[in-house]
């Protein structure tokens, strides 16, 4: 071997080693820079202020409404951000992406700042195109009745709540859109925390959970079918979801059994979660007992992804794991036979404190989805609230549903100052905590996560909302990363947002699946674009789309680009 060949061989070997080091989370691992202030999105969230004897307790129990929704509402090719506030009179924020990683709050001008009126609390938000006109409309969920804003296409929105049919009061904390009956129109599933009583006009103080492990007096869920005529009708009972009476904190959807229909996972606080399988006739079958079994944990989040690239969607649920409560999260590995196995301990994703949102995303484009989890209930003074709760829990005969029986929290901390967790997928069925190296281990009281590629550079960025604290924007600055594709799908026969569409990508020796989701994850809707990391692969062997209508398409797309695909037409220009 000549010197040149030797040098070439050594160089190749070195390059491969460096590449492997990078993909193994070595020195050139995932990195983020927090840029909320310079991007113009560092706004403070405020939980609702209550008045009277039980004010502090209700404030604490309703502190979950710091939400974010990511979506390109003006179709300019850049993802925008909607962020909620919750205190009376406080405006929501619509951050228009200026295309240079700065944003301008246009909520007031667009007509979507309102919602926190004296008797309603804004709690979540969702972009979805309910009338299939190609423009994202906005739903603002509330402890109250929801607000539906129609996107007028000129930077302004029109409040169409009054004619939407969405007129039922609920203490909604989560909402997702998906086409459960595959009629081409997006339906809405609401997760409701408290039972439907107005906490701001409380007649009866007995509104808290009747059991802290098996509560049955929550708000359950409500399913609203899109009539296709600009309105919705409630079909909860008809669809078979009326028996859920738990304290729903999050709802998620995905095709869990690979039959082309969207199934549901409901995460409930103070008791069991639920799995419902779509029967394809407009109804769902409860499959909890067989799928996951009944649990007593404090379910907070539902995110759905195929973390191990085995072709089956898995589910991640956060619970509470702290010094005084050891629940462990649940990473439900889909066994492909209608059952799931919790592998959170085995995968290293079990302990994330008082968990809230969690999102899967391939943050280093290596073809394996990583996991970001936010946590923390209330960071305040040095004393803990936990010992004060003990008598409430253990006094025989004490009515724990009565808000007046709970002690005031004052300036006490409750599961506060918790470090956020970023787990890198090691591609071997385990994850590694890289939070500190990645620069995301803040200790704010996290609630929601929105994932999106705000500068279209192929690296997914993160928005983190926090209760009574400022919003954070983490710009992905990972230096050595893999190739990627981002696909924005548009349905024609299927719903226009293509929610529920599944894409299967074969590249670099692995097969990945993603589904367009309609708001999975607590208090956070991520980009509707499907992002795939490809590692060192420079071409895609096969890319197949299964549309919600049932049609399938094979398309060819360029790597390291955002590509627009329309049902039946393949790749189209933006």
């Amino acid at each position: 071997m000549g010197k040149f060949q030797q040098l070439k061989a050594v160089t190749c070997c070195l390059a491969l080693c460096l590449s492997n080091m990078a993909f193994a989370g070595g020195p050139a691992g995932i990195r983020f820079e927090e840029i909320s202030a310079k991007a113009g999105v560092r706004v403070q969230h405020h939980s609702r202020t209550f008045h009277g004897k039980n004010a502090e307790v209700l404030h604490m129990f309703t502190s979950g409404g710091a939400a974010v929704a990511v979506g390109d509402y003006d179709n300019d090719g850049f993802e925008d951000i909607f962020a909620t506030d919750s205190d009376a009179g406080k405006p929501n924020h619509l951050f228009h992406n200026n295309g240079n990683m700065t944003f301008t709050d246009v909520a007031v001008k667009a007509g979507v700042a309102g919602g926190n009126d004296p008797l309603s609390v804004v709690s979540d938000a969702l972009w979805f195109d309910y009338d299939n006109d190609g423009k994202l409309d906005l739903l603002v969920a509330r402890f109250g009745t929801p607000l539906l804003y129609h996107n007028e296409g000129n930077g302004k929105f029109k409040d169409v709540s009054a004619t939407s049919g969405l007129n039922k009061f609920g203490n909604t904390i989560a909402v997702i859109a998906f086409d459960y009956d595959n009629d081409g129109y997006l339906d809405l599933l609401f997760g409701n925390y408290f039972k439907p009583v107005n906490l701001l006009d409380l007649k009866d103080p007995r509104v808290l959970p009747n059991d802290l492990d098996n509560a049955t007096n929550g708000g359950g869920v409500t399913l609203w079918r899109n009539t296709g005529k600009g309105s919705f009708e409630e079909v909860t009972d008809k669809a078979g979801l009326g028996k859920v009476t738990g304290w729903a904190l999050d709802v998620g959807h995905g095709d869990f059994n690979n039959d082309g229909l969207q199934d549901i996972y409901i995460a409930c606080d103070y008791g069991t979660d639920h799995v419902f399988i779509n029967k394809g006739d407009g109804t769902f079958r409860e499959a909890t007992e067989k799928a996951t079994g009944w649990d007593t944990k404090k379910g907070m989040n539902v995110d759905v992804a195929d973390y191990d690239n085995d072709g089956w969607l898995d589910i991640y649920v956060t619970n509470i794991t702290d010094e005084y409560m050891k629940e462990c999260n649940m990473l439900w590995h889909n066994n492909g036979d209608g059952t799931f196995t919790d592998v959170s301990k085995e995968t290293g994703t079990c302990e994330t404190g008082w968990g809230w949102a969690a999102k899967f995303a391939d943050l280093d484009n290596d073809g394996w989805q990583d996991l970001f989890v936010v946590n923390g209930l209330r960071s305040a003074g040095p004393e803990s609230y936990v010992p004060l709760i003990l008598p409430v829990i253990t006094t025989p005969g004490l009515d724990i549903t009565n808000v007046n029986n709970w002690p005031d929290i004052g300036n006490r901390t409750w599961s506060g100052y918790q470090k956020k967790k970023l787990y890198r997928n090691l591609s071997n069925g385990t994850f590694k905590d890289v939070s500190a190296e990645a620069g995301v281990d803040n200790d704010l009281d996290g609630r929601g996560i929105g994932v999106g590629d705000f500068d279209n550079d192929g690296r997914l960025d993160l928005v983190q909302t926090n209760a009574d604290q400022p919003l954070l924007l983490y710009h992905n600055i990972t230096e050595i990363r893999g190739n990627w594709i981002e696909l924005k799908l548009s349905g024609t026969k299927s719903n226009r947002d293509a929610i529920g569409a599944r894409v299967r990508v074969e590249a670099g020796g692995i097969t990945q699946i993603r589904e367009v989701d309609g708001g999975n994850g607590y208090a956070g809707q991520s980009t509707r674009r499907l992002h795939f990391g490809l590692g060192s692969a420079t071409k895609i062997e096969r890319l197949q789309i299964r549309w919600p209508s049932g049609a399938t398409e094979i398309v060819t797309v360029p790597i390291n680009h955002v590509t627009y695909i329309e049902e039946g037409r393949g790749v189209v220009t933006k």
């Binding site: 492990d213 008791g271 005084y324 409560m325 050891k326 803990s384 010992p387 003990l390």
Partner: protein, 255 residues
Amino acid sequence: MNRKPYSHFLVVLFLMGVLFSAVRASDSDYQEAVKALGAKDYATALRYLESAVGGDPDNVRYASDYRQAVIRSKDFDRSLQFFEKLVSAHPDSANVHLNFGFAYVDKIPVAGSITQVILANNALKEFTKAVELKESWIAYYTRGMSYLFWPKVFGRAAFGVADLKKAMEIQKSGPRRPYHVKTYIGLGDGYWKMDDSEKARSIWQEGLKEFPDNANLKARLTQQGDQLKATIEAGFDPSKRVDTDLRDLWANSNN
């Protein structure tokens, strides 16, 4: 002839007879239960064991075996209901309260996280009654360890240490039993939980002098930092079943 003492004697004799026959009946029930357990016929075994414990409520062995059978049958609520009735019938029996407390502990691993707290608190109340009724090694050791299970935020480790010191005093005043090593481990762990590592080590070292082959003490004395923390905390994991089988008490004792 004064007939009163004679009649008293008859009454005492009668009561002794009743007691003896109850104990004999209990023993016979216990033997039937052992047979049923061998056949994994838990329904029959539990019935006989309840009869045995009911006839001889102070018998630690019967009650302990009953609870172990309940653990195998997973019918924890039945056990709690049984002991609840038993304590109301025998409110002055320390052993009944002790076993009632253990029955709560036995249910903890299968309960939800908040129910675990309620069960642990109920257990502690029963252990306290047992201590108040009869000061003994088992009563102090049990309540002391029960305190140590509570997370630090509740500040109960000091109570645990106080109880375990009493248990230590009691064990040092009598013949040495193999199970006494548990007090050294528990007391050391208690000091460790109170952030007094030095005192913890001295207790473990003292224990190792008495029980030089004990692996748990050796592990604590050879480990540091996170490894030691993991070893100690593994013993206080509410999701893991606590060994509440009291057979050591009669297997290693002349009493």
